[in-house]
Structures are given as structure tokens and as C-alpha cells.
């Protein structure tokens, strides 16, 4: 496996350092403990947003640090959640006196480490709220699992909650908006190939030349079901049907449609998938009011995509449209 790396164990740190060097107007990168902080943090009187998780999902999360979105991102090793002291350092760096909202993807490691960090921060007198993102419909029965995973819908939560914080909402209100977005967001993904974690050097699972894995997460873990490859239109329908049925999204609903690449699928194919998704949604009477297509929550070099729907109302749409200036998402600013 050919990789653009130096030493496998340095990938996460060197990638973060590169991001800091490329975007000095947006980010300040701290090492030991590692975190990426908005260059003008702390912003006095504004609720600060901190997210994080394993590396390997770039641009999530450091690519979303900047005005209108996150105040800090806390990357762990590849596919490994960050540690509590990292999160605590980020919280201390961004707390502008209005409290800190932790946005956490629902993976056991992330939840446990952020939980310990929240306890430490609260003990230091910082007002902390935590919102757990669990938009992945592939996990059906939460009783017998660790619950639904947080996947590409996390980007929508970070953007919209970030806009709420930027307009001056207090901590409870920003957390409330974030929970509303989580409640209205559903995602389903597919892998065409597995991904290769740098330190293991071998694919995380084996897929045949004509096989796909439906219902994958974003860490190279196998998904819900393996089946033969089908054309893009049919594949997108396989992803969208459970997404639509779950909330459910109904005739007359207005949505934001995110077609997210897993890292190794060309943008041209993502647009093929987007076109297919529009066909399905038109047939159901669901109106796409906003769209996002690209690699926003990746799983290293996995080929494949995920499809996310967020049910919009006027407020969520306005918050989505509000100015944002980050390395990976920028408009109006």
C-alpha cells in the first residue's frame, strides 16, 4: 500500500501541523496536548464550540474551526478518540466566559473521553454542555449496541450550532439548537472499499471486487450488510430508503441534502450519487432547499459515500446560510 506519509505514528500530528501552517489566519495549532484553536480565541461573551474525535476523518474536525463554526477541534490518533487532557486544554483555550458546548460523535471512546473531560472542566468552574451526535440509521437496535453512531451529519450540527453561537445565543440555546439538528438528521453510508489505517498497513476488512458494504461507520468497521455492487441509482436508493423511513421524512418536507465522500471517491461520482438522490427525493415529494456535496467526513482512503438528510425549518435554514469561514467550509465571510 503506497502512502504519502513519513512515519505511521506521526501522521495525525504532521497532518494537523500542516493544516495550521496552511491556515494561519484561522487556526492556532497546539501540540502536547494536541488541539487546533480558532486564532482569535477566546471570543469574549460567545459560547465556544469544541468538537473532536479520532484523526482520519479530515476535514472533520479541524477543517471546521473558524468564525461561524467551531472554536476548537481536538484530534486523537488515527481512528482513536482524543484524551481528556486534550479536550480540557481546548476548553480552557476557548472559554470566553459564556460556557463551552462539546459536540461528540456517538462512539464509545469519544463519549467516555469527553465525559471525563466535561467532569474535569466542570470541576474548574467552566459551564459545559455536551451534545452527542448519532445520525447513523445503519444501527437499528440501540438496546443491543452502543447506539447509533455519529457520522457525516456531525458537520451540519457543527455549522448550525456554530451559527447560533455566533449570533449570540446562550449555552442552553446553542445546545438546544444542536439537539434539534441531531434530532432532524439521518445518514446512511456505503463502502466500495475498506480503508487502511497507517499503523496497521492492511485494509480494515476485505471486500471482493464486485462487493459493497452497506451501513458502514467512518472508522473502517464493517457495516450492516454485504451485497453485490449495483449501479449508482439503485445504490443511492438503498441508502436513502432507510434514511427516509427512519425520521420519517414525508411528502412536503424541506431538507438539506449532504452527499459526503468517504475519501477515495471522485467528486464526479459524488455528483452522480447526488443526481440519483434528487430523483428519489423528487419522487417522494421532499424538497431539497440546501445542498452540500464533497468530502467532509472521511474514513481515510475508503471509497464510497454517505447520504444525509436534515429536515429544515426557516430557523435552521437561516443558521445554515449564516456566514462561515473555515478551512473546509466558507461562505458569506
Amino acid at each position: 500500500m503506497k502512502k504519502l506519509i513519513n512515519n505511521p505514528s506521526d501522521v495525525a500530528a504532521e497532518s494537523l501541523a500542516g493544516m495550521g501552517l496552511a491556515h494561519p489566519d484561522l487556526l492556532r495549532v497546539h501540540t502536547d496536548p494536541a488541539c487546533a484553536v480558532r486564532v482569535d480565541a477566546p471570543v469574549a461573551g460567545k459560547v465556544a464550540l469544541v468538537s473532536g474525535g479520532g484523526s482520519g476523518h479530515e476535514p472533520l474536525h479541524a477543517g471546521f474551526v473558524g468564525p461561524g463554526m467551531l472554536d476548537a477541534a481536538v484530534p486523537g490518533a488515527v481512528f482513536t478518540s482524543p484524551t481528556p487532557d486534550q479536550v480540557q486544554a481546548a476548553v480552557a483555550a476557548v472559554d470566553g466566559g459564556a460556557g463551552v458546548l462539546l459536540l461528540v460523535k456517538n462512539y464509545t471512546g469519544d463519549v467516555l473521553n469527553f465525559e471525563m473531560a466535561a467532569e474535569l472542566a466542570a470541576a474548574e468552574g467552566v459551564a459545559v454542555e455536551t451534545v452527542v451526535v448519532d445520525d447513523d440509521v445503519a444501527v437499528q437496535d440501540s438496546t443491543y449496541t452502543a447506539g447509533r453512531r455519529g457520522v457525516a451529519g456531525t458537520v451540519l450540527v457543527e455549522k448550525i450550532a456554530g451559527a447560533a453561537a455566533a449570533r449570540g445565543d446562550d449555552l442552553a440555546a446553542v445546545a438546544g439548537i444542536a439537539r434539534r439538528v441531531v434530532g432532524a438528521t439521518r445518514t446512511m453510508g456505503v463502502a466500495l472499499t475498506a480503508c487502511t489505517v497507517p499503523h496497521s498497513g492492511t485494509p480494515s476488512f476485505e471486500l471482493g471486487e464486485q462487493e459493497i458494504e452497506i451501513g458502514i461507520g467512518i472508522h473502517g468497521e464493517p457495516g450492516r450488510e454485504r451485497r453485490p455492487l449495483v449501479p449508482a441509482d439503485e445504490l443511492v436508493r438503498l441508502l436513502l430508503d432507510p434514511v427516509l423511513a427512519d425520521l420519517p421524512f414525508e411528502d412536503g418536507d424541506r431538507v438539506l441534502l449532504l452527499v459526503n465522500g468517504m475519501g477515495a471517491t471522485p467528486l464526479s461520482e459524488l455528483y452522480v450519487a447526488y443526481r440519483a438522490a434528487r430523483g428519489v427525493l423528487d419522487g417522494r415529494g421532499v424538497t431539497v432547499e440546501r445542498s452540500l456535496v464533497g468530502n467532509y467526513t472521511t474514513a481515510l482512503d475508503m471509497a464510497g459515500c454517505s447520504v444525509t438528510l436534515l429536515r429544515l425549518d426557516d430557523e435552521l435554514r437561516d443558521l445554515w446560510d449564516a456566514p462561515v469561514h473555515t478551512a473546509a467550509l466558507r461562505w458569506g465571510a
Partner: protein
């Protein structure tokens, strides 16, 4: 034969545990690739390497101090679920040992029970969920039984290590209900839970430490 398990013995057991994890890094990663995300060996090895580095400059005053150093180091270096879970386990065990200068059978049983309770509280896993609780739970029970039966520190730790190894093997037919393996559903059946395996290795290291300490005291 006396069982002496003092601070020095505890530190040497921690070093042995670090060597044990380093030696089994590839195996733990392979187990985790089967039903998780393939980082357990790498993460735990990184954490215990950091423990060894800290031990070069730190001089724990009690067995509890040594375990606390392990706990805080793992919490800040491992990440994943195993960082907070092992960190919590070692921290609770350390608290249970309080200021004792050496381990007693009663303290070992209490420390393992506290470690198990801490892991259950933090991770919310129950027995049979195919997690490290399936090794740590039986270990705590075996330690309690051995201590109640009048066993020395050596016997209590050996009983715990044996129970953990058996408990880990017994995770093979289980379907995971917690952690990342739970997303596999039935496909998690037929594999050892990696966290239960590393728990068994750690307890085996502590049991071996007890043997070594007893041997040393025999020679003195």
C-alpha cells in the same frame, strides 16, 4: 513461604505488564481488526510505553501510588474507549489500596472489585456484553473467593489471572452489545474480545509479579 508484594514488587509488575502488552501488540491489534477498528494493541502499547518513561523519573511511595501513575498516564495517552476504562480501573484500584505499604489478599480482592465497579460505571457494560468486564468480573470474583478461602497474595492474584483468561476465552461465542464490535451484530460471534484479552494479560503480569516477589523473599 511468604507473599511479599510491596511497592517495588508492584512497580516491577507494572514494568512486566508494559512488556507483556508490547509483546502482544500485534495480536491485540489483529483481534481488534476482526471485530473493532484495529487500534487496541497500538493504543495500549503507546500508553504503557508512556508509563515506563514516567517510571524513570518517578518513585512511587506505595503500591497505590504506582497504580495511580499508571491510571493518569493511560488516561492521557491511550484515547479510545480503553484509555478511560483502564484509567478508571487502575484509579479505583489505587484508591482501594489507600496508603498500604504492601498488598494483602484482602486488599487485592478489594482493589479488583473496585476496578470492576469503576469500569462498569464508566462503560455501562454488563457481564456477557463481550467486553473487558467479562475478564475483570470473573477475576474480581475469583480473587474474593481465594481471599475468603485463606489464600495468600500469590494465590489470590493467580486465581484472578486464571479467571480473567478463562473469561476472555468465554467471550468467543458472545455477541457484542457494547463498544464498536456491537455494530457487527451476529458477525461479532466467534472472536475473542480484545479488551478482555488485554485484561487477562495485565492480570497475568501482576500474578507473575507476585511469584517473583515471593521468590525474592525466599532468597533473602
Amino acid at each position: 513461604m511468604t507473599d511479599v508484594y510491596d511497592t517495588a514488587a508492584t512497580v516491577s509488575a507494572v514494568r512486566a505488564a508494559a512488556a507483556m502488552i508490547a509483546g502482544h501488540k500485534a495480536e491485540l491489534t489483529r483481534l481488534d481488526q476482526a471485530i473493532g477498528d484495529g487500534d487496541h494493541g497500538e493504543n495500549l502499547a503507546r500508553g504503557f510505553h508512556a508509563v515506563l518513561v514516567k517510571l524513570e523519573s518517578a518513585a512511587p511511595a506505595t503500591p497505590a501510588d504506582a497504580l495511580k501513575l499508571v491510571a493518569t498516564t493511560l488516561i492521557s495517552t491511550v484515547g479510545g474507549a480503553s484509555g478511560p476504562l483502564y484509567g478508571t480501573a487502575f484509579l479505583r484500584a489505587s484508591t482501594a489500596l489507600a496508603g498500604a505499604a504492601e498488598l494483602t489478599p484482602e486488599l487485592v480482592a478489594a482493589a479488583l472489585a473496585a476496578a470492576r465497579d469503576g469500569v462498569v460505571a464508566r462503560g455501562k457494560a454488563e457481564p456477557g456484553d463481550k467486553t473487558m468486564v467479562d475478564a475483570l468480573g470473573p477475576a474480581a470474583e475469583a480473587a474474593r473467593a481465594a481471599a475468603d478461602g485463606g489464600g495468600g497474595v500469590r494465590e489470590v492474584l493467580a486465581a484472578a489471572a486464571d479467571a480473567a483468561a478463562r473469561g476472555s476465552e468465554a467471550t468467543v461465542p458472545l455477541q457484542a452489545r457494547k463498544g464498536r464490535a456491537s455494530y457487527l451484530g451476529e458477525r461479532s460471534v466467534g472472536h475473542v474480545d480484545p479488551g478482555s484479552r488485554s485484561t487477562a494479560y495485565l492480570l497475568a503480569s501482576f500474578a507473575a509479579g507476585a511469584t517473583g516477589a515471593a521468590d525474592d523473599s525466599d532468597r533473602s
